[in-house]
């Protein structure tokens, strides 16, 4: 994984990159308007952050309370240490019910665990029912955004894809027509499904209920038809009380898409009378993050996607350039926790502008965590040696003010003297698209000293 390379590839198609940037900026602008509707927005962020911090600090208690309450309601609660345990649990539940055809609504956790390939290899037929997710599934690629999985795909490409896969009219890119066709095809999947898998947006410790937010109602179509519902969630999705939910629902929808609330917000308290509800609680590295104080509050994330929409780097490099299930600023932090070596370019995929930190509805100090990961990457000697040596050398130079002055003066005179072709040789990465500043003859300190000397002389004369 090399983010700068992937980003450069994405940007090579300038027109498309501009379109991507503008599409996401539009979502960001909608979010700004939705947030501005709530004068106490900043207090809500603060409050949500405090609730999350409290919950994460008492995670064990709340998880056990949730298990108890959910079980009392008739749900089956399973615990998975990692992705592979999660996949095995889901597979065995499906097998026990003789289920083969599955409809799945959006769940970043199942993406993280690579559930689809696991089940497909085991002979199950799995259909992602969120329109965007389904489009990327048909294209056989991962989502590029956690809320807008197909944001990198243009409607003309969807038209072509649907023409090939569903037999829609060739050349038609009319969103209404394409959505209608998708709907008709997905209806069949819903009606034929033996089981529904969903994600979980919030799990309430106090009640044992789970809440699933969608804009398409596809999760509800799934859980409403077959009798078996498997809900998969990361253990950080827990909130203490039902009354906390209002706060998080407001923050989630407004931050994610600029809506006051998601179109469908389904509350499941135990299984349907005629069905079964299985809830799989997944750790998969979360307690490891919990142990690290510097990165702990990355577990506050409610997966709204606002940090992606606002990130000037994400908008210009696309979700796939990150090479991890969750892209953007929060994804770079979570990917680093997963494997700092494999993803070491991700904490550097940021200008540290801090827009993510200011937009995060649960006040995660995202850009400071990216910086903290850079320290960690250097401490673990993952950062390539030449870079570390260069920084050490620069530090030695800067610790010697006289040497620094000399080095500065010499560099500037060389820079002024050498021919342009040499100054802008291919090793000058800065100079590929940019001019270097004109190199002055005197440094500031020289000018300041000379001026001070002149003043003193004048005073002397007086």
């Amino acid at each position: 994984m090399n983010h700068p390379q992937e980003a450069a590839r994405f940007l090579a198609n300038a027109k498309r990159a501009k379109w991507h940037d503008e599409a996401l900026w539009f979502v960001r602008s909608k979010r700004d308007m939705a947030a501005a509707d709530i004068p106490e927005w900043e207090q809500l962020r603060q409050q949500a952050s405090q609730i999350k911090a409290h919950t994460i600090a008492n995670l064990k208690t709340y998880l056990q309370q949730f298990e108890q309450k959910a079980t009392d309601l008739g749900a089956h609660v399973h615990w998975a240490r990692d992705a592979s345990e999660h996949n095995t649990i889901v597979q065995s539940i499906l097998r026990d019910h003789g289920a083969r055809r599955i409809v799945k609504s959006k769940s970043m956790l199942t993406e993280e665990c690579q559930l689809n390939p696991h089940l497909e290899n085991a002979g199950f037929e799995i259909t992602d029912t969120d329109l965007g997710e389904w489009i990327v599934q048909l294209r056989n690629e991962p989502p590029s955004h956690i809320v807008l999985p197909a944001i990198h795909i243009k409607k003309e490409e969807v038209g072509e894809l649907f023409h090939q896969k569903l037999g829609t009219r060739q050349g038609s890119a009319d969103p209404d027509y394409l959505t209608e066709s998708a709907r008709n095809t997905l209806r069949k999947s819903f009606l034929q499904a033996d089981a529904a898998i969903t994600g979980v947006n919030f799990a309430i410790a106090e009640t044992g209920g789970i809440v699933i937010c969608t804009n398409e109602g596809n999760a509800d179509m799934g859980t409403g038809l077959p009798g078996l519902h498997i809900a998969c969630m990361g253990i950080e999705k827990i909130i203490p009380r039902a009354e906390d939910l209002a706060l998080f629902l407001r923050l989630l929808a407004r931050s994610g898409t600029g809506q006051p609330i998601t179109a469908y917000t389904a509350h499941h308290h135990g299984p349907r009378p005629d069905g079964q509800l299985h809830i799989v609680l997944v750790d998969n590295g979360r307690t490891e993050i919990l142990k690290q104080e510097a990165f702990r509050n990355s577990l506050h994330c409610i997966r709204c996607g606002a940090c992606m929409n606002t990130c000037p780097v994400y908008r210009r490099s696309g979700g796939h350039s990150y090479g991890y299930t969750i892209p953007g600023p929060i994804g770079s932090i979570l990917a680093s926790a997963r494997d700092p070596k494999a993803f070491y370019t991700l904490p550097y995929a940021s200008s540290l502008c801090g827009s993510c930190t200011d937009i995060c509805p649960v006040n995660i100090d995202l850009h400071h965590q990216l910086l903290a990961w850079r320290s960690e990457i250097t401490r673990q000697k993952i950062l390539p040696l030449p870079k570390r040596l260069a920084m050490a050398a620069l530090s030695h130079l800067m610790r010697r003010p006289r040497l620094y002055r000399l080095f500065g003066a010499i560099s500037r005179s060389i820079g002024r003297a050498i021919p342009r072709t040499l100054l802008y040789c291919r090793f000058n990465v800065w100079g590929r698209q940019r001019e270097l500043p004109p190199l002055p003859k005197k440094s500031f300190r020289r000018m300041f000293q000379q001026e001070a000397a002149r003043r003193e002389e004048k005073q002397h004369e007086k």
């Binding site: 200008s351 801090g354 401490r379 920084m391 050490a392 530090s395 620094y404 990465v429 940019r434 300190r445």
Partner: protein
């Protein structure tokens, strides 16, 4: 009042006139300026790449150089933010660090929050676009960022807006990053330049004649793009505008 002047290394070496303009502005407002010779770099490039062991001695050097000043003034939001928000892990053990941290000001902050200068008198008959540099904006809070729901304000705007003849443009993305980001400008060259070009386009559409800001590093990046593309937009540090316009208190 006597202040210690903290001139970032790249201003010292590449933009001496910005440093001189800062001195002139401070003196015009009755401040005596000391320039301690032992200063070089605050260590931000090393810290931002994660090389704390390379950055720490420079934080120490800064501490030794500036600890005895009641006020330290710097014409850069980013370098000021480095001291205020990122020195803790290098200097937290020093008695007196807290005092130093609170004594370091970015130039606009110093003028508005310490000197409390009111509306300025001066002439600058140009269309000016302000680039809100991210660290000044979101670390020092020189202005309210567009992400937060709060009463808008901007110290750079309030310093310039009363100058005679000045027209401050409004942008479609008022505070998006220009993509400089220190070593990011080189390690992520493609993204960095794309971000810079987008800022420039926004300023062009707004009719910016002179592009200004509190961080010469961001301006250096955009100036580099402008000059390569032979565009007429000029770049000036905010201190240079204050200096050239003859800005003084009413």
């Amino acid at each position: 009042m006597r202040v210690g002047l903290f001139i970032p290394c790249y201003i010292d070496q590449l933009y001496p006139n910005v440093g001189i303009a800062t001195v002139r502005v401070l003196e015009r407002f009755g401040v005596d300026v000391d320039f301690p010779e032992n200063q070089t770099c605050c260590g931000q490039p090393m810290a931002n790449i994660g090389c704390d062991r390379a950055a720490a001695p420079l934080a120490e050097q800064f501490f030794a150089t500036f600890r005895h000043y009641e006020h330290v003034v710097c014409p850069s939001g980013s370098c000021t933010a480095m001291v205020r928000h990122h020195y803790q892990k290098y200097l937290g053990h020093h008695e007196g660090f807290e005092t130093l941290r609170n004594s370091v000001y970015e130039l606009c902050e110093f003028l508005t929050d310490v000197l409390h200068i009111g509306p300025l008198e001066g002439d600058f008959p140009h269309r000016v676009g302000i680039h809100q540099s991210c660290h000044g904006l979101r670390e020092l809070r020189l202005a309210e960022s567009s992400e937060r729901v709060a009463k808008p304000f901007s110290k750079p705007h309030s310093l310039l807006e009363s100058l005679r003849g000045i027209e401050l443009v409004s942008l479609s993305r008022g505070d998006e990053c220009c993509g400089f980001g220190g070593t990011f400008a080189v390690t992520q060259e493609a993204v960095s330049c794309s971000m810079g070009n987008d800022r420039i386009r926004d300023h062009e559409q707004a009719g910016t004649e002179i592009l200004t800001g509190v961080d010469m590093s961001c301006l250096m990046h955009m100036e580099g793009l402008l000059r390569r593309q032979k565009k007429p937009m000029r770049v000036m540090h905010l201190a240079e505008i204050l200096c050239q316009s003859g800005a003084h208190c009413r």
